[in-house]
């Protein structure tokens, strides 16, 4: 049976040492009391519980700019006003929440660097706590010296700076970035389809909707062609069908032309209203059903060229989600795109805290693993040796 090492310990505040039997280290009494308090595991537990509880609240209350009327309407008068008072609508940047995080970081720092004599066993805990401080330091460095902004480019457009919230002018890049093309690639076989049933008990074909493509139906030479596709079928008073690319898919419909031995016919088939016209078979007994399904996006690609300040090409690159572009001190991420113009929207960041954060990320699981698995082994060895 394995006995957890931790239950044998009850680390009390700094005890008198052989070097200083009185326990005094030259610091005033109140300083020692504060350090003792900050080092206390009970204090750390209380802080962690408060931070966890506050974080939980932030996920239940919508985060964003405070609108008193909307908050009161949604949460009631008391809670709506409390949200504004405590900044619960922007909880994670509220002064008291950041204060709790700072206090926890201070507690970890005092626990890490104060008091105890060096020992191999305590090193494991020190690594764990120090790694948390590295992550916090990296985050602070990013907050102080980092840059976050956006860069929107249309096809063919070149920019030498990007927009940062609160800045009066674009922040210069030190080079130029030109958008050569922005592409959205889709998975094959996804997207709209037409179900074509040949007769009451006949075969059903599933045909991808491609405007202009003629598809044989394998029945007496019958063919189907998709003539038109609209996202929201509406007619004006003159019987003209209204269509625009930015429509919402409220009433998707396709117009098809069926040709065969019986002649030619055109009809509209509606995804939301399959019972209307298109569902009833024509004289040839063909049933149509339109299944509207936006195609699955495979990738968003910004094809760019990096140029120096004189306009000379440095390199070409493709920015994808999960594949950002690093140029100089900046990193460009595929963030979004303009649905009307098909221009790209890139997020631009400079984060000097990366090395610290990454160091913390590497050390933290190492420290935890050593504390859980190496420390008990050392303790058992120590007891065995004694």
């Amino acid at each position: 049976m394995k006995t957890p090492d931790e239950t044998a310990q009850d680390p009390s505040p700094a005890a008198p040492s052989a070097a200083d039997p009185s326990g005094r280290t030259g610091k005033p009494g109140w300083v020692r009391r504060i350090i003792r308090g900050l080092r206390s595991i009970r204090f750390a537990i209380i802080l962690m519980a408060l931070i966890a509880a506050a974080s939980l609240v932030g996920t239940l209350i919508e985060q964003g700019p405070y609108n008193p009327d909307a908050a009161i309407a949604r949460y009631g008068r008391a809670l709506g006003l409390l949200i504004g008072l405590l900044g619960l609508n922007q909880l994670y940047s509220a002064w008291w929440f950041l204060g709790l995080l700072a206090l926890l970081a201070l507690s970890v720092a005092v626990c890490t660097f104060s008091g105890a004599r060096f020992s191999l066993r305590k090193t494991f805990t020190l690594i764990t706590h120090a790694s948390i401080l590295l992550i916090v330091a990296g985050a602070i460095l990013r907050g102080i010296a980092g840059v976050d902004g956006m860069l929107a480019l249309e096809k063919g457009q070149m920019a030498g700076g990007f927009e940062v919230e609160g800045a009066t002018a674009p922040v210069p890049l030190g080079f130029h970035l030109r958008l050569d093309d922005f592409l959205i690639r889709y998975y094959e076989g996804t997207g709209d389809s037409l179900e074509v049933r040949l007769g009451e008990a006949g075969q059903t074909l599933t045909i991808p909707v491609e405007v202009g493509k003629v598809v044989p139906l394998n029945r007496d030479g019958a063919k189907l062609e998709v003539l038109r596709r609209v996202l929201d079928f509406k007619m004006d008073e003159n019987g003209q069908i209204l269509s625009a690319p930015e429509q919402q898919p409220d009433n998707p419909a396709v117009q098809v032309r069926l040709t065969g031995p019986a002649g030619e016919s055109k009809r509209w088939v509606f995804a939301v209203h399959p019972e209307f016209e298109g569902h009833a078979p024509d004289a040839a007994g063909i049933h149509l059903r339109y299944i509207f399904r936006p195609p699955a996006v495979k990738s968003y690609e910004s094809h760019v060229t990096v140029l120096d300040e004189n306009g000379n090409k440095i390199r070409e690159a493709v920015i994808l989600v999960n594949s950002p572009l690093n140029v100089g001190r900046y990193t460009f991420y595929q963030a979004s795109y303009n649905t009307k113009t098909m221009g790209t929207i890139l997020e631009v960041t400079h984060d000097p805290g990366v090395p610290l954060v990454f160091a913390g990320f590497i050390l933290l699981p190492l420290g935890v693993a050593l504390a859980f698995y190496a420390k008990p082994l050392l303790n058992r060895k120590g007891r065995g040796d004694a």
Binding site: M1, K2, T3, P4, E6, T7, Q9, D10, P11, S40, I41, R42, A44, I45, M48, A49, I51, A52, S55, L56, G58, T59, Q63, Y92, A139, D148, Y187, T190, A296, V297, K298, S299, Y300, L320, V321, N322, P324, T331, Y333, Q334, A335, E347, T349, V354, V357, F358, F361, L364, P365, V368, A369, F372
Partner: protein, 282 residues
Amino acid sequence: MHEQLWTISFVIFLAAVLLNAAQVILALVLKKAGRTDSPGWLRWMRGAGNVLIGLGMAGLTATIAAEWRALGYPPFSNVPESMLWMAWGFCAVYFVSRIFVGFTGMELGASVGAVGILAVSSLFPQGSHPLMPALQSKWLVFHVFTCMVSYGAFFAAFCTAILWLAIWRKRESQKVLDVLAYQLMAFGFLALTVGIISGSVWAKQAWGRYWGWDPKETWSLITWFVYGIYLHFRMAGAQFGVKRENLPLLNAIFAIAGFVVVAFTYFGVSYLLVSLHSYATS
């Protein structure tokens, strides 16, 4: 193909439940009859129960491999797919506990747990979708795998705590269960730490920031804090006035409450809160 393999795995785990339940009942009957030693046929039943759990785990491995092959990408993009990994992680944690750490006698709990995970996964909408651009990363496998293994370990700790409360509370075995629950939560905490870190690195690569207080990120941090509090509490329970003899009870409560938080992080965030991580409902 992977649906058939899933069904086979589920049936195997069900058979393990029946066999392990039978051997537990028979062991109790023998004990009541005053028999102190374990007859050979009972040990054989226990071994067969473990073999069935191992076969079920092999079935899960085959299911995952078959689905991966069919989809052309790792099956991680929705709840049923990720729960396959959770069930696999749960079984892995069980066998590690049994073989390398020496905890035995948990066959029934392990088989019931595996059946439970698979049964719950079947309640969610099935069917896979092509991987959206945000999920096309080498971090997908590592991040989701470590998180699912941690959830499996926390679930195992939860089952152990339930067992401690319901069945073994008055027995000497409660000490073993207490230690087992601690070991499981410690391992789960380590795996979750790696999972959160890998998620942060991935978020940096995809979205340009390590941490955005997204509900999924926040709840995973809450989970990490809950277990972090538990691990510190084991050292400092006395400072809160908790008597040493009551610590195992409090630890069992932590294991149960912690898994409730895990369950909300896993399911509640995906279905009740809007998050960048709401891939599960797509």
